[in-house]
Amino acid sequence: MKSLDSIISECRANAYDLNFSRAREWKEEEEGRVLVGYMPIYFPREIIHAAGAMPVGIFGGGDDKQIIKGDAYYQSYICHIPRSIIEIALDKHLDHVDGFIFPSICDVIRNLSGIFKQQKIGKFVKYMDFPQNFLPEIGGVFYQQEMSHVLKYIKEINGKDVTTEALNHSIELYNRNRQLIETIYNVRQDFPWRLTIDEVYCIVRAGTVIPVEEHNELLEQVCTHISEDIGDPQDKIKVVVSGAFCEQPASGLIKAIEEAGCYVVDDDYMLGSRMILGDIDASTSHPLQAISTAYIKQSQYSSSIYDVHDPKENRLAKIVKDRGADGVIFAAASFCDPSLLDAPIFQNAFDKMGIRYIAFQYSENINQYKVIKEQVGAFSDSIKLWEDEPAIPAIEDKIK
């Protein structure tokens, strides 16, 4: 078994590898292998795996990639992630990726799919609509058609038909993947000092760019390590981070929140890897239907899902309660419409529920966290020292 430190550094290297080297190696290991890139938030990776291809998560350039060309494609009032993805693509970091899937999140990502088409990047570009109708016979059927469409694209490249057995096997692998990730979060709920949230993030994100079989092996080892009594507890508050599901905060920002006096016991950073709650049925003769049903009935709340019958503010409040969190940090990417439009809904509800929160905005390429750390630090102190009183005003209103 590898040491925890070596697993973390391996995962960190893969998670932030803008050349997607492990995916490239995997493709070169055998003739006819296909790589399919997908953008945030969620895509059913099972179907790509079953088609003999490998899904590759493309989550932007973070603070490693200088944007030069990307800015020419988007106005200044658009978020950062599409610029860095375009920059990565135009700098040929994605040349070994055969096709690209753009799950429906917002207009920006939809336009990004158009730019990929215009620039003729990859062998196919698919803008993937997710059902907003949650009736299995309507939204469910539509979703299965969308998945079949993706499989058709992959078959045009590798000529492979996808069998029921292959799909069920892939579903099993990803079920295991989600179970192991959930185990890590469950252990951290009680013992958050055993692994920092930045380490968890690297471990989970690495799974989007390496084969799932390898990721599962690493996750099994991580779970074994953290079942031991390791690390020293500190006096910190527990928080849930919400709103950072698409454009990813830089590693420094993820660390800064914990350094400022919090343990992050749940988050939506890599929401796609945890989108389906529980297992997908891997024993049916209609696996696409099983995947679709799981999405409709077992998916996590998300800003890209408009399920009016299951209000997301109640679902986030339940996570806060179940995780024993002291408060919520709303971290939204600048100009992220889905996240920023949801924020007042959450905040109004939390004011009534008495759940404490703070909110700030970030961009994937910021690497100065002083103001955010001060804001988080003040939030942490207000809970540790003045539990029954309101928090102090937001720091950004105060700097003269």
């Binding site: 006096d235 910190k236 400022a260 630090g377 003040a378 102190d381 540790k384 700097i399």
Partner: protein, 285 residues
């Protein structure tokens, strides 16, 4: 029953690591400073400086970290303190530290190496409101350090020398870069060192007085942080407050004011120690 515990606060700033060892008495509320230590970071790894400072204080007092220190609290750049129980935000700790040095204070002004912050506090040391300077070097202790180096002075000499000034000249630029150029000009004009440093103190004091005005600060005002030990700065603030018809403001300083963050951290650490014990007991019962 009085049964004091030892708590320790470590304040990691831009230039110095400050450590305060406190005796915390929850029953009586009589807390006292047992020992203190300041170490300059210079070009060393701050993490090493922190470890050395803690070890130095523990050794001097014959204490063992594991068995004798109930709570080690960091403040400032807390990630530099690997061995700690908890971390507090610097505004929280300076407020508490200010109240320790000046128990009647209604306002605490933290004049640190990187910025100045005026904080209104309630009787418990809770932050009510605050105003701070932006990140501009010319309003900070770091600026005074740089100037004193150019003038060949030890930073401790700046305060007493400033008191000797008879005709100070305030640098015209509000930017540190321009102000430093100004200082070179003042030297070449033949202005005395005392008048130059008084001018620098006055330029920073002007910012402090402006902050106090915008905060509608109430007296007594505790001047803490590294610059709170600069007697010339305190004189400059008092003079400017008088000039600007704010003579109702009453300032309080303390020779140990550089330790306000460390002291505040240690005191909040003591508070948390008992709070956590209370919670543990509630869970058990």
């Amino acid at each position: 029953m009085s049964n004091p515990i030892y708590t320790m606060g470590i304040d990691v700033g831009g230039s110095y690591v400050k450590c305060a060892l406190m005796s915390y008495d929850d029953a009586t509320g009589n807390h006292s400073m047992v020992d203190k230590q300041t170490e300059k970071i210079r070009k060393k790894d701050p993490k090493d400086v922190v470890v050395d400072t803690i070890d130095m204080v523990l050794e001097r007092n014959g204490l063992n970290y594991e068995s004798d220190i109930a709570y080690l609290a960091s403040t400032g750049e807390g990630e530099m303190v690997e061995k700690k129980t908890g971390h507090f935000y610097s505004m929280t700790t300076h407020s508490r530290g200010g109240k320790f040095f000046a128990p009647d204070a209604k306002t605490v002004v933290d004049m640190g190496g990187l910025y100045v912050r005026a904080i209104k506090v309630d009787p418990r040391g809770k932050v009510i409101d605050y105003k701070m300077t932006g990140q501009c070097a010319s309003g900070s202790g770091q600026f005074i350090e740089n100037i004193s180096r150019y003038l060949g002075l030890a930073v401790e000499e700046v305060g007493p020398l400033s008191l000797e000034a008879d005709n100070p000249e305030v640098p015209s630029g509000i930017c540190a870069v321009l102000a430093e150029t100004d200082v070179i000009n003042l030297v070449s004009k033949g202005l005395s060192t005392a008048n130059i440093v008084k001018g620098i103190n006055l330029s920073i004091a002007a910012r402090v007085v402006k902050l106090l005005g915008s905060l509608r600060a109430e007296s007594p005002i505790a001047l803490v942080g590294g610059m709170g030990m600069n007697t010339g700065m305190i004189q400059a603030i008092e003079e400017l407050a008088d000039e600007r018809k704010k003579s109702n403001l009453e300032f309080v300083s303390h020779p140990d004011s550089i330790y306000s963050g460390a002291v505040g951290a240690a005191l909040w650490g003591g508070y948390r120690y008992y709070k956590l014990k209370e919670k543990e007991a509630a869970v058990v019962s």
